[in-house]
Symmetry: C2
Subunit: 313 residues, 2 copies
């Protein structure tokens, strides 16, 4: 894949127009002090209610709509959520799709890819292995290879979440968001240039944090409860160009992520995967402490969970 | 219990002010044609995200705040949701609570009542049996007996959902809502006097429908998937005074309710109990057919579900 440039403001504005008919404006619920184990109220953007169950619907749709789609359709590699999103994009556009997922991907996600009518290949242990297999196949089939984060149009699509949030919470000071390869966080960074962005990872899904520490992109070894969603070995080169020096970084433990997820279920009846709860966990754990009066938005970025993973509160 | 009058506009306005600090403004998500098995878009009010998991938090809180609470605290009977709500009200107000539930109540609901710190008594087969036991105990203990629907302040509290919906969807023409004893639907009827109200029940939880057919309150035999939430033997006398001649009535089958519930999970990642899906089912099934351009709001009234009841989509 050739190096891709960060989207411009015009690219993001075009993405907003392009995606509007086929993307859901996801709701925001306001918590108050005492809710969800927090002593401050936050605005919670429920992107778990997006088509295909996560923000990935935005980037994949924008990428497909901005491109010429060959007869062989769309192809993508994914820990799961991007695969569901590309499969959904292919279905609504009436083209075929092949999706490569690693063995770490949750069964619920693989089933949702198949439910959208795509062909699924389970290849390798982690996302990067599936991406290599996907790229080889794309070279052969000529299908449009939609990268989950290292592509201009993908990041422009994810940026539409930031644009929407800015409309829904116009006084937002700070956005707290989970990071995998960096597509969503870099999109929000570009869409909301005057807000603080807190990028949250776990100690074992830490591609951005490791890069910020090293001052350059480095490889990590993804593991733990968020590995099928945040498990990129390296932060994308496009996201890195956007994020280096422009983002706060916080780590939360797997246990903190699981407790935050349980709180979302117990208090809001919102069922999400562990990776979607790490942003909330960053505030609950004290990893990020908002100032008095600071207006904080927390992104609940994906919902694709097996409901039997939840316990009754 | 002495006969209670329907709340006045002033009662409802007072309930809005009284409840505001302790009630969540639940979000509305807009669906579009093609979503959720519907060929029309609807506004979906996610009251499943309310404190205590249902609209019952509103009525029980308003009733308690408008009353003198004795040292023996609060007492209530409930199929489950009202019990969780009264228990939560007691916890936030720092008073004790006793809750009577029938054996039909879902395990997830009984656990949530206990989690709020209330004493639970499982008594009788259906809600009305538990209500009789509750009333006997209340006469003995002197606790404030919060009726789930046949009480002025309870209905005024439920009406706050209608007030909120009117602010969120100011052009709403029609509200589609599930009915048990009639507290929520009568509250919305009073809060939104110029909208059409479509009251939805199942063939075996049909207290309002049977009353509308008979022209007077009659007893039914609650059964089926919604029995622990909509299983009143008769519609309340206060709700009946509000609703007779002022509401459309639709029945949906248990199977239609279950399919609507699955659609909410598969497409919105919203996990709810069957009773909370009957309103959506009324449109999916063609039981209520909106006119072209009609602005319809669907109330998803409660979320208290055992997640293991859901299957992965």
């Amino acid at each position: 894949m050739t190096a891709q440039m960060p989207p411009t403001d015009a690219d993001i504005a075009a993405a907003v127009e392009r995606c509007r008919p086929l993307i859901r404006r996801t709701p925001v619920v306001e918590s108050v002090s005492g809710d969800l184990g927090l002593d401050v109220g936050v605005a919670i953007k429920l992107e778990s209610m997006q088509y295909a169950g996560s923000f990935k619907a935005r980037g994949s749709l924008n990428n497909a709509l901005a491109s010429d789609i060959p007869a062989s359709g769309l192809i993508a590699a994914s820990g799961g959520n991007h695969g569901i999103a590309v499969a959904r994009t292919a279905r609504v556009l009436g083209v075929p799709a092949e999706i490569f997922v690693p063995s770490v991907s949750a069964k619920a996600k693989v089933e949702r890819i198949r439910a959208q009518g795509a062909t699924v290949h389970v290849t390798g242990a982690l996302y990067d292995d599936a991406q290599a297999a996907c790229d080889a196949r794309a070279a052969e089939s000529g299908a449009l290879n939609i990268h989950p984060y290292d592509a201009t149009h993908t990041v422009a699509g994810q940026a539409t979440l930031g644009v929407e949030l800015g409309e829904q919470v116009p006084d937002v000071d700070t956005v707290v968001v989970a990071v995998g390869g960096g597509g969503l966080v870099s999109g929000i960074r570009l869409a909301l240039p005057r807000t603080r962005i807190v990028a949250v990872e776990t100690p074992t899904c830490n591609a951005l944090h490791a890069a910020l520490v090293a001052g350059r992109r480095v490889s990590v070894s993804p593991a733990g409860v968020a590995a099928d969603a945040l498990g990129a070995k390296t932060v994308g080169s496009l996201p890195w160009a956007v994020l280096a020096g422009n983002v706060d970084s916080v780590l939360v433990s797997d246990a903190e992520a699981m407790r935050a997820r349980q709180a979302l279920w117990d208090e809001l009846q919102v069922a999400v995967e562990p990776a979607a709860a790490v942003a909330l966990a960053a505030i609950r754990s004290g990893g990020y402490v908002p100032a008095v009066g600071e207006r904080v938005a927390v992104i609940v970025c994906g919902g694709n969970v097996d409901p039997s993973d939840l316990v009754t509160g």
